[in-house]
């Protein structure tokens, strides 16, 4: 009996192990931003269905962490919720890593209050800055301090945690410097915590990715944002985000492809598949697709092997992708 058991175990192990060491035709290592992850993973999942002999792994170490690996040549593709930074560009030149930059979708940031809040009709970027800047810490505590017509009730803030790309983008767009923010607010990487907090707090205000607002529409109220006092108040939706009207709180998300990896046929196939599916899948995972032309231009960029970043020395805040890409592709 015992011998029989031993034999089966050995046999089972061999079967299991051999399946672990299954020969793949190719491997694609992807890592980076947690906010691009859902999209890339959705694309990879669909891709695997048709190409089971290609092994794709998608990691989540944040945009910065992803670039670190990418610039050491450890990954083929890096997910990024912001363009590559000047410092990272320098590193890429030093390490001789060339890359192709491909925008894949838009993410809008929603400014939300509780449905019980009746006095906030819109908010300007300057007012947002007054609420969120590091100088406001322990000073700006009441709504009235932000706009004199608002009541003198407590201001409770809810926002992204410090390790998320949303935090980096929001602080840059509103406070002018990435990671510059007051610290006395409810900070969480888990957007559901923020949804719960704002929805149950009549004097709360929060920000997070538009996808989470869409999922919790009935519990929250979206606040239109004015670029300045004279501009029109804009509600984030497909069209305002795609056309760059919802500013400065919409951002493109990218994948960066290692130029050497781009020579491999299965990587080419994957990128082609990615750009074909990105529009449809962005919507499925809660993001906003780029205009069709941008996907075309991006694919052109990839096939022509145009390396480097269109955002070198440019801020992504307020940028128009279509314009940038069509100039750069020529």
């Amino acid at each position: 009996m015992n011998k029989f058991l031993l034999l089966t175990t050995v046999m089972l192990n061999t079967v299991l192990l051999s399946s672990c060491f299954k020969e793949y035709k190719g491997r694609i290592n992807i890592d980076g931003s947690s906010s691009v992850y859902p999209l890339t993973e959705a694309v990879a999942e669909d891709f695997r269905k048709e190409n089971s002999d290609i092994r794709i792994t998608v990691g989540v170490s944040g945009t910065g962490g992803g670039f670190k690996k990418f610039l050491r040549g450890e990954t083929d593709i890096s997910n990024a919720s912001r363009p590559i930074s000047t410092h990272e560009l320098e590193l890429s030149r030093k390490n001789g890593i060339e890359f192709i930059e491909i925008p894949v979708s838009y993410d809008g940031m929603a400014i939300v209050v509780s449905p019980k809040n009746s006095f906030v009709d819109y908010i300007t970027v300057a007012e947002l800055k007054k609420m969120w800047s590091p100088e406001s810490q322990n000073k700006v505590k009441f709504w009235k301090q932000v706009r004199s017509s608002w009541p003198n009730t407590k201001l409770n803030l809810y926002g992204a945690g410090t390790s998320s790309g949303t935090y980096d983008y929001f602080t840059e767009a509103i406070n002018g410097k990435p990671k510059a923010s007051r610290g006395d607010y409810t900070a969480s990487e888990d957007d559901n915590v923020l949804v719960q907090g704002v929805s149950s707090d009549a004097s709360g205000l929060g920000y997070f990715g538009l996808a989470y607002f869409t999922e919790n529409k009935d519990k929250l109220r979206l606040v239109p944002v004015k670029y300045n006092e004279h501009a029109e108040a804009v509600i984030p939706n497909d069209s305002t985000v795609q056309h760059g009207i919802y500013q400065p709180l919409s951002r493109p998300e990218f994948i960066y492809v290692n130029a050497k990896a781009a020579d491999k046929p299965y990587v080419q196939e994957f990128i082609k598949f990615y750009l074909e599916q990105a529009g449809k899948l962005s919507r499925e995972v809660g993001y906003i697709p780029l205009p069709e032309e941008v996907y075309k231009l991006s694919y052109e960029r990839f096939t022509k092997r145009i390396t480097g970043s269109v955002f070198e020395n440019k801020s992504v805040v307020g940028s128009n992708l279509l314009q940038l890409l069509s100039i750069d592709n020529k």
Partner: protein
């Protein structure tokens, strides 16, 4: 024959020693791990800043390392919990011991023990989804995350700790005292609260202290319902962050290990550990010095 028996006895003894060593070694291991990183932490952050700064923002650009806001959140929720649990817990214990008939005790006691068996994550959601909205209808200014609601629920959670330990203490009071009290013409209420409770004082105090240290270390309830905003306040209507919540927050996010930010959780952890350690020792000391006074 006696030899094998002797050997068997030895083996059994060793197994027992090993078992108790596991817990002792785990404790030593925890203390070591905590201290190594805490020492590292205090090399970078002066201890004076740690205990005097009134802001806690280690994850932000402008870093402050004042433990006071976190400590304040922890003490606030614990105070609320204890002020619910102590009167309720002792009253229940007195009722079960002095008033209730055997049949009633047989029903209530197991029910109380069920309270202790509810997973704390469920208490947390109960506080967030039911208690907070109900409280909001009574107190309009109450924030969605606040210290009050998890504090109250935590109080309910620790009632069984106080009740069962206090009941043991009450039962240990010799019947002669009870009889003497009745003999002097005292009624049941006077006997219970003027004679029996004071006589069982040391045991009750121990139960309260253990309940306090349980509340200090409670994590899930406050992590879910109290919010994540370190704030130096004793206002129970606002959201606070406790030490335990902060540790959860950092361990779940992607704060790089082996960084100053990561080490803050060890410094925070050891602060909590010092508190519960002191409380446990005080309760141990009280038990040792006062328990036999009335026997």
């Amino acid at each position: 024959m006696p030899k094998t028996r002797y050997r068997k006895e030895k083996i059994i003894e060793w197994v027992m020693i090993l078992c108790s060593m596991v817990s002792v070694l785990t404790t030593i291991g925890i203390i070591l791990v905590l201290s190594v990183d805490t020492v590292q932490f205090f090399k970078e952050v002066p201890f004076a800043r740690f205990i005097t700064d009134n802001q806690w923002t280690p994850l932000f650009e402008e870093k402050h390392f004042g433990i006071l806001p976190l400590l304040c959140g922890t003490l606030l929720t614990t105070t609320i919990a204890v002020s619910v649990a102590v009167p309720m817990g002792i009253t229940i214990a007195v009722y079960l011991n002095e008033y209730a008939s055997k049949n009633v005790t047989a029903i209530i006691k197991p029910l109380l023990e069920v309270l202790a068996g509810i997973p704390t994550v469920i208490y947390g959601f109960f506080a967030l989804q039911i208690v907070t909205p109900v409280l909001q209808t009574i107190i309009p200014g109450l924030a969605g995350f606040n210290a009050l609601s998890p504090g109250l629920i935590m109080g309910v959670m620790i009632i069984p700790y106080i009740t069962s330990l206090s009941e043991d203490a009450l039962r240990a009071v010799p019947n002669s005292l009870r009889e003497a009290s009745y003999g002097l013409g005292a009624n049941r209420f006077q006997t219970a609260f003027r004679v029996i409770v004071p006589a069982a004082n040391s045991g009750i105090v121990v139960s309260v202290i253990l309940a306090i240290s349980r509340a200090l270390g409670e994590t899930m309830i406050v992590a879910i319902a109290a919010g994540q905003q370190p704030r130096l306040t004793f206002n129970p209507l606002e959201s606070v962050e406790t030490i335990t919540t902060y540790i959860v927050q950092v361990s779940m996010g992607d704060v790089p290990q082996d960084s100053l930010e990561y080490r803050t959780i060890f410094a925070a952890g050891i602060t909590l550990f010092v508190f519960t350690f002191l409380l446990n020792n005080i309760s141990f000391w009280i038990r040792k010095h006062y328990l036999q006074r009335y026997e």
